[in-house]
Symmetry: C2
Amino acid sequence: MSEKSNVVFIGRKPTMNYVLAVITGFSTLNSEEVVLKARGRAISTAIDVAEITRRRFLSDVKVKDIKIGTDQIERVEDGGISNVSTIEVILSK
Amino acid sequence: MSEKSNVVFIGRKPTMNYVLAVITGFSTLNSEEVVLKARGRAISTAIDVAEITRRRFLSDVKVKDIKIGTDQIERVEDGGISNVSTIEVILSK
């Protein structure tokens, strides 16, 4: 198992897809930690994923740490720089 | 100053309105802590508010803690119960 398999990048797919990825990380891959990473509007989804996983499926999973930050991304339209907020939610058994 | 003045509830207003409220909390009201509270889609805005405040205006403000949870709310349409994720971002000087 590579370290990468512990990171779930949250995007625009249905929330339950990511919940399933987290459950797979803990159960099938037997990880001790799974990290959710999200930017911008997907940040709300990341929190939903953490809460649904903990409350509905894996009650022994805890939120170990939450880190926030800012990424600078280049806009496609005009090549300018935009700031976008980021979050990392570290879930652990 | 009451304790309540330290809490900024994040909703659907422009992000900078909330940034201004946080700056007012620290500067005018001289609070040592300001707590951002948000639910659902406003969670992303809360992270934006924390990041913009820290990076652009008050560089001595730190993210002291971030707590997530779930609120149960009654739907207006059918009276059923929906779960909504919540976040508290505790900013301190």
